[in-house]
């Protein structure tokens, strides 16, 4: 490339630095606006819930609300645990061992939102349909989940999500 006269170089530099500074300034101005749309501090503070689980009987499941979504907390029976453990992970659509999905064997904690299109699966009540694998069944488009909340049949691509949770003591779970 031919060498430009000195004067033009100087002008190019000024133009480039002005445009760059303007772009950086605009981005810096836009950022707070975009950030204001993400969850506010009080929403984040409401993002964790403590649940007393002492009253839940074996085989019983409760639904609580966490971040506006239903969370299933189930105290599984011996048979259900065994049924979940017997399955070979490699046979599954979303391969996962039961032991990777629980912290304590008898306690299963799931986000009760079907991974297909966001409906709430049935199976919490005794009278509910529980699907072919005796876990949960989504009435919207017919996805079947097993006793570990894993997808076994139907259109859903993934297992039911496990929310972040911790046992504060034997009777209390903190979700979130």
């Amino acid at each position: 490339m031919a060498k430009k006269p000195k004067k033009n170089k100087r002008r190019d530099f000024l133009q480039l630095s002005t445009v760059t500074l303007g772009a950086v300034g605009t981005a810096a101005f836009i950022w707070p606006f975009l950030k204001s749309m993400s969850p506010a501090e009080d929403t984040l503070a409401a993002g964790s819930t403590e649940v007393d689980i002492s009253a839940i009987e074996e085989g019983q499941s409760i639904t609580i609300k966490w971040r506006g979504k239903p969370v299933f907390i189930k105290k599984r029976t011996k048979e259900e645990i065994d049924a979940a453990k017997m399955v070979q992970a490699s046979d599954l659509r979303d391969p996962q061992d039961d032991s990777d999905r629980v912290q304590k064997e008898e306690w299963l904690v799931l986000v009760g939102v079907c991974t297909h299109l966001g409906c709430v699966p049935l199976g919490q009540k005794v009278s509910d349909m529980k699907g072919e694998y005796d876990g949960w069944y989504c009435p919207c488009h017919g996805s079947h989940y097993d006793t570990s909340g894993r997808i076994r049949k139907g259109p859903a691509p993934k297992n039911l999500d496990i929310p972040p949770y911790a046992f504060l003591n034997d009777n209390t779970i903190k979700i979130g």
Binding site: P32, M37, T43
Partner: protein
């Protein structure tokens, strides 16, 4: 359809494709690229651009505030406090919006002062001036509606006082007031409709601004000497010259408004508005926003309810007919030795009215407001029409470039009746 329409040709085929179907690119090139600006325009001519930028900033920050605001009497105040404390950068949105409103008025007042001092409202730009007064009116309405939304004490009582103005109208007044409020008092119905209107009016303003800008582009901008462009020696292209100049003004404005937003965000607001609205207790001293204070002073200066309301609205309405009250053919006050001082007096008077409008209406303040009121209307009805008659304006330069010729070589310009020397007629600045 005009078959002979000449389509602009660009190098870029995409631009050509668009241009053939919608000649928007050549429009922008004509109106914002090659558009001739008088080359003597000073920084006063940047305030139109600044006002547009501020309007856009107000609309954007307002939309983001609305995402977190609740227009309900029980929740409005708390939702604003939530914006201040919990919403990410909510404090910034709100301080941009509240101080932006003040700065919007500062800018528009300077813009109006510019138009009045340099006679921009005169032929052939009268309609432009009228559209501008409309924008000013819409701005006042919008800011009043917006001031109600935080639902603090000043919000509530400001809304009460202003809507009660309508009750001054004989016979239909009370009914009209109730209809405007949707209640017998400022209540939830009022807050809801004020929010709806506060949201939509800025877009109406934006539309009128578009007309305002389109109108000024027909005959071009006025300038400090108040004479038209006669040849291309008198003008420079909008791009890049005026764009860069406006950008410099914008940077200065950005520094000023940032200083207030970050270091004195409540300088121009009333502390009483941080007390939640209480329909049973009126604050000891109701203060309007500073930018409405001159008109508030006029309202209070009149010892009659209806009279005060009429004069207050009259003070704004009179602006519409200013182009016909002023009989002088000379635009710029720089060439009007008498009117210039009356004009300066008008600005000082307006400022004084605003000052006493923020103070209690008694004693000396009331007297100042009354004298100010007399001068305000006297300026329009007596001074403006008659000064044009008796005043002998100074000699106008023959052209804008002639002004520069005179400035550089005063002997030549003055000696030959304003004719610039041949040397100066050469276009030296491009």
């Amino acid at each position: 359809m005009d078959k002979n329409r000449k389509v602009h040709q660009f190098k870029n085929p995409v631009l050509n494709w668009i241009e053939f179907r919608l000649p928007i690119i050549s429009y922008f090139k004509k109106e914002y690229g090659d558009y001739p600006m008088p080359k003597n325009c000073n920084y006063f001519w940047s305030f139109g651009a600044l006002a547009t930028i501020t309007l856009i900033t107000m609309i954007v920050s307002g939309i983001f505030l609305a995402m977190n605001y609740t227009p309900h009497t029980d929740m409005a105040f708390d939702s604003v406090e939530r914006i201040m404390r919990d919403v990410n950068y909510g404090w910034l949105m709100r301080y941009i919006h509240s101080n932006g409103a003040s700065f919007f008025f500062i800018i528009v007042y300077i813009h109006i002062v510019r138009a009045m001092y340099f006679g921009s409202y005169k032929y052939p730009r009268e309609l432009n001036w009228i559209l501008g007064v409309f924008i000013f009116l819409l701005m006042m309405a919008t800011s009043f509606l917006g001031y109600t939304l935080p639902w603090g004490q000043m919000s509530y009582w400001g809304a009460t006082v202003i809507t009660n103005l309508f009750s001054a109208i004989p016979i239909i007044g009370e009914g009209l007031k109730t209809w405007l409020l949707g209640d017998y008092n400022v209540g939830n119905a009022t807050l809801n409709r004020f929010f709806a209107l506060h949201y939509v009016l800025p877009f109406v303003i934006f539309g009128v601004v578009a007309l305002h800008v389109a109108a000024v582009h027909v005959h071009g901008s006025n300038n400090p000497d108040g004479i038209e462009i006669k040849s291309n020696k008198d003008s420079v292209n909008f791009f890049p010259y005026m764009l860069i100049k406006d950008t410099v003004a914008m940077c200065a404005f950005g520094v000023a408004i940032s200083a207030v937003i970050f270091f004195g965000p409540n300088l121009m607001s009333e502390v009483d508005n941080y007390i939640p609205a209480d329909p049973l207790v009126t604050p000891a001293h109701i203060v309007p926003n500073w930018y409405l204070a001159p008109f508030y002073a006029i309202l209070r200066a009149v010892p009659d309810k209806l009279g005060g309301v009429l004069l207050m609205f009259g003070a704004i309405a009179i602006l519409f007919v200013l182009p016909w009250l002023d009989r002088s053919k000379v635009r710029s006050c720089n060439y009007r030795p008498m009117y210039k001082w009356f004009m300066m007096g008008f600005f000082v008077n307006f400022f004084a009215l605003g000052y006493v409008g923020m103070l209690p209406a008694e004693g000396l303040y009331l007297l100042i407001a009354r004298v100010g009121l007399l001068y305000y209307f006297g300026f329009f009805f007596i001074i403006t029409p008659f000064v044009g008659w008796i005043e002998k304006p100074s000699k106008l330069p023959l052209s804008i470039s002639d002004v520069y010729a005179k400035n550089i070589m005063p002997n030549i310009g003055a000696g030959e009746a304003g004719m610039p020397s041949p040397a100066m007629q050469k276009d030296t600045n491009l």
